[in-house]
Symmetry: C2
């Protein structure tokens, strides 16, 4: 059962655009030996995920880049071969984050995400998919950030993928309409027939925007974004008032050699990488909070903690000039026009 060599795939060069075969190297290295509080594990399943592509670039991302000659990263499901770690015995199935593209690896007791898997509960491969980080991504992003309500419309791109396929199914469970976006017709059919989405449109269509509109007659309340580019551009104009964009990925941009393409793409990449929230608001929607505001700020003014300044133009005939100045930033303080006498001054 135990080999004498350990085959590995290492990064041979940083890809420019789409990764070429020559950016990788299959090597044979020595079988590693576990130290104290370590295990030797045999890899059964390796998960491939789009985010690897970003880690192959040099430069800032939300995680440190790989270096040339590193074993390619990747989450794995493995079986313990030899264990110096309490609680783990040969034959145990485990999941952990760091092992990567190799046949054998060393796992330390403090390995990120390390846990035992019980094949009786679900196939062990699901720890890399629907019951692993991709499923977790779908569940957290949709429910915590997208917050779909019954009757709302949820759109998800890469709908046949590991994340997208669960997003739409959870949307259905929560009583929302689920519309997918995928590529091949075969994937679109799968999403509707096997996964139970209400509809799925192909991003290969020349009429993507119209196709989406036909399936989302009341607009899009939640968009779970995995793709970016032209797919985002077709979705964005159809988002409703108070709608939510859940920004998970931009797979269409990961192979890009120049700056991200399309309006907003670099903004979206920044929002994801820095886990930012951008909230547009119009204050007139929140009049129910006005009294609370007024009490608090009037108190701060009385306490001398808030000061204010007004810029008062004199007379209706000067209103136009004052408005023109306001748009050019020539006012200094809140711009008012005094139209009649103020008997309180």
């Amino acid at each position: 059962m135990r080999n004498s060599v350990n085959r590995q795939v290492r990064m041979a060069a940083r890809p420019v655009g789409a990764p070429k075969d020559s950016d990788f190297r299959l090597v044979e290295s020595e079988m590693p030996v576990p130290g104290a509080d370590e295990m030797l594990v045999r890899v059964i399943y390796l998960s491939l995920d789009p985010y690897f592509r970003g880690r192959m670039n040099d430069g800032p991302s939300y995680a440190a880049p790989m270096q040339i000659d590193d074993v390619m990263i990747g989450r794995t499901v493995s079986q313990v071969v030899e264990s110096n770690l309490d609680g783990f015995a040969p034959g145990d199935f485990i999941f952990c984050d760091p092992v990567g593209w190799q046949e054998y690896g060393i796992v330390r007791g403090d390995a990120l995400g390390l846990r035992k898997l019980d094949p009786a509960i679900a196939p062990i491969s699901t720890a890399l998919g629907v019951l692993g980080m991709p499923g977790f991504t779908a569940w957290y992003g949709l429910l915590e950030l997208g917050k779909p309500k019954p009757g709302e419309t949820v759109v998800v791109s890469a709908a046949a993928g590991a994340v997208g396929s669960l997003v739409g199914q959870i949307a259905k469970i929560k009583g929302a309409r689920a519309v997918g976006i995928a590529g091949a017709q075969e994937k679109c059919d799968f999403v509707v027939r096997e996964l139970g989405f209400d509809a799925c449109v192909s991003h290969h269509s020349d009429t993507l925007l119209a196709d989406l509109k036909a399936e989302c007659p009341k607009g899009i309340d939640v968009y779970f974004e995995n793709v970016g580019g032209k797919v985002f551009d077709a979705v964005f104009p159809q988002m409703t008032l108070f709608s939510r964009l859940v920004l998970c990925g931009q797979i269409s941009q990961y192979n890009a050699t120049s700056r991200p393409e399309g309006p907003g793409a670099s903004l979206i990449m920044g929002l994801i990488g820095r886990r930012m929230t951008a909230s547009g608001f119009v204050i007139g929607d929140h009049r129910d909070r006005f009294d609370e505001f007024q009490n608090e700020v009037a108190g701060w003014i009385r306490a001398g903690q808030v000061r204010f300044r007004e810029d008062i133009a004199d007379g209706l005939e000067n209103a136009v000039g004052a408005f023109q100045g306001l748009l050019e930033g020539r006012n200094f303080g809140k711009q008012l026009v005094q139209i009649g006498d103020d008997p309180t001054r």
Copy 2:
């Protein structure tokens, strides 16, 4: 005290770019007469606000556009001249939304925002500024959406304006560092010396990004956006992990004749107009929720409410090809590579 004519400013033409004098017309009209449940009021203060500019355009906005020959919109502080409305008597000072650019107006009992003002509490003009919608905008946007924590850095553009000047002062009250962005040096000085911001940089500077960086050495945790364009572009790269963008306005774009300029500007305008929230996330930040996820989704799988599909490449030597295919969308379901035997299947 009562005139026989009512002077008004009406929209004469829809502006192209910056509003010209000829886009407005000063007219004399008949003094209006209040009907049942109406008041005649004399305007004392008219508020000028940048959002008027959007209402002068024809086309979708978050409010209906004005029509040619309409009296220009605007919130006012007025004094009651004649009242057929219970609870309001001649001499009372009032605030309400609709009266606009004119010396006299009719106010109905159901006028938006109608309330009496007590000059003993604060100057009546503050109902248009620090204690009115601009102040409310600052208070709600910063505290509900920006959520500044003690020690964080809050940046606000148009810092000397009605909204911005309160944003920075509230940030200080909440224990944050407040950095303004304004135009003229005189305004920057005012923001620091009179309002107590920690610093204020000028957007006229050729080194805006570096100037901001010097004043925000730990990055920017909250940006309250009023301006857009090159100001946004200087702020965005400096936003920290888990930072918040409060999107209030884009004054630099309101006079634009073409589509909004600069990366992300049209996206930001859309987020504001449709009160959207865009949340970037990286699932690894949320491992504390993993068990909850797994229990819930495993239950859905057992109940037949969630289905999944895996695409399993065979052997380490096929990992590169499978990864290349994944980035091009050639996989169908969660992409795995089987590297060793799975004794559970």
